[in-house]
Amino acid sequence: MPETALASVDLKKVYHSRGAPAVEALRGVTMDVRRGERVALLGRNGAGKTTFLKIASTLLKPTSGSVELFGIDVVAAPDKARPYIAVVPQEGKPFFHLCPREQVYTYLRARGIGRESAKARTEESLERMGLTEVADRLSITLSGGQRQRTMVATVIATEAPLLFLDEPTIGMDPFARRDVWASLRSLTQKGSTILLTTHYLDEAEVLSHRLYIVENGQVLVSGTADDLKRSVGGTLKVTLPNGASQVERFRSFGECVTDGSGVTVIVQPHRLGELMDLAVKSNLTATVGPVTLEEAFLRAVGRSIDEE
């Protein structure tokens, strides 16, 4: 099996609909995912993450450009690529009139997995996702988070070489999210490759080996979470809630990002003391913390990930 699990080159997608202007969802996305990697597409709603995932997982035709999965062209030969993939679709739901145990098992059987293996993998996956107690309850009686866990459990159980997960932890509580992260890590240790979309910055940082920040159908930056944080220009951030009106006084310390009446200054540790003195002299309260992916995202996109 080739070392490159996914490679897309100059991928473009334009949606046309009658009576409405064309929408450019992807504007030349080039990216690659190596075998065994966990890669996150990070972006705001409407950035093009799901469109990319749909094209890469053979569910949508691109307008131009190419995507290969393990060297197979998904546009020309989707049937050849499909046996290697599994997808958790955005807003997908398990069958309401199946219980999680039936859902996972029948899905594995539908993929051609043998009876005994399907049974074993079902139990393993349900346990890993903390669903054992509700495994025999109809999905219609489960909470939204439990249903989403059922979807993830189903796809994880396939152990497919390449998994596409579109917002896999949406609606889950923090404990369940950690279960998903652990399961995904374990899968990649066994050799699977994972491409996920998320707009949870912590998830992207904790889970992915590399990430791509996407905005307006384009990849703006890519790299490890540390690479992206380093690109911000400092390792500490000082937040001054009422400092926007005095932003010019802080520009010499590093990059300043205003947000309403507040300002965040990115600073190197050796200049922190000087900056704090200035804040006190200016009668401003200040909070110090490490630079996070949020600052990297803000710097790349110019807007917060939650901003509509």
């Binding site: 989707p78 029948t106 051609g112 293996s117």
Partner: protein, 254 residues
């Protein structure tokens, strides 16, 4: 990573069997829906019994054919609901399961689940309709043909909708008009003669007319038999091939 890529025909068979079983489990867990599959036919049979008991035999033949025809409506509703609300196409078909297996598994699964109502009507029919082994087999064969046509039609139609609420209205209208209004539950002879060629080209009424002719309730000319048999055969084969083609085509959107 434990992934073995099976040959396409093996995957198609495994997928069909597994999705059939999935549908059986789903429908089994929704028993009320099974009961509702008999409601329309039962109500019509009661009306016929009250208004003209002499037509009860024909109505029972109609109930059996109508049952297999309305399985198309079940396929339509199920396929559309799962695609729109559950994203099942993305979930099942971005993987080794073939589109044909998905369509066939769903259609067979719904057939298996709705066989009990068919058995009830079938058993009652043997007491009321003058069926011989030959006419019984003819009825079974024609009902199965209507099922193939209706399931294929239902699956193709299901792909045109984006909203479930629209589907419920249109599917109900379509399947009731072409299953009730035309001579399925009543003899073809009661239908305006000038319109007979049209209803003989509609699978449910064509199948009903052929059984009615076989049990001596309706007389068909040689041309009418040819029209009904030919039309039913061509339409069923064509609709099935369209459904297989369409199942493949609709996996990937434009």
């Amino acid at each position: 990573m434990r992934n073995e890529v099976l040959p396409a025909p093996v995957r198609a068979f495994a997928g069909t069997r597994a999705f059939l079983w999935t549908e059986v489990l789903v429908q089994k867990n929704e028993r009320l829906a099974m009961a509702t599959s008999m409601v329309v036919q039962s109500v019509i049979l009661v009306f016929v019994y009250i208004l003209n008991p002499g037509l009860l035999g024909v109505a029972f033949v109609g109930a059996i054919i109508f049952s297999t025809f309305t399985m198309g409506q079940r396929v339509l509703n199920e396929a559309a609901y799962l695609r729109i609300d559950h994203k099942s196409i993305d979930f099942y078909l971005a993987g080794p399961m073939t589109p044909e297996a998905y369509f066939l598994g769903m259609s067979f699964g719904i057939l298996v689940v709705y066989i009990p109502p068919l058995i009830v009507f079938g058993v009652l029919a043997t007491f009321i309709v003058p069926l011989t082994v030959a006419t019984g087999l003819l009825l079974l064969g024609l009902a199965a043909t209507v099922w193939v046509f209706a399931a294929s039609l239902g699956y193709v139609f299901s792909t045109f909708f984006r909203d479930n609420r629209a589907i419920w209205a249109y599917s109900s209208l379509f399947f009731n008009v072409f299953g009730v209004l035309v001579p399925v539950f009543y003899p073809l002879g009661l239908f305006p003669e000038v319109l007979r060629p049209i209803v003989l080209l509609m699978p449910p009424s064509a199948a009903a007319a052929l059984v009615q002719s076989a049990i001596g309730v309706t007389s068909l000319t040689g041309g009418e038999v040819a029209l009904a048999v030919g039309g039913l055969a061509v339409e069923t084969v064509a609709m099935f091939l369209v459904a297989i083609y369409w199942a493949r085509r609709t996996v990937r959107g434009d």
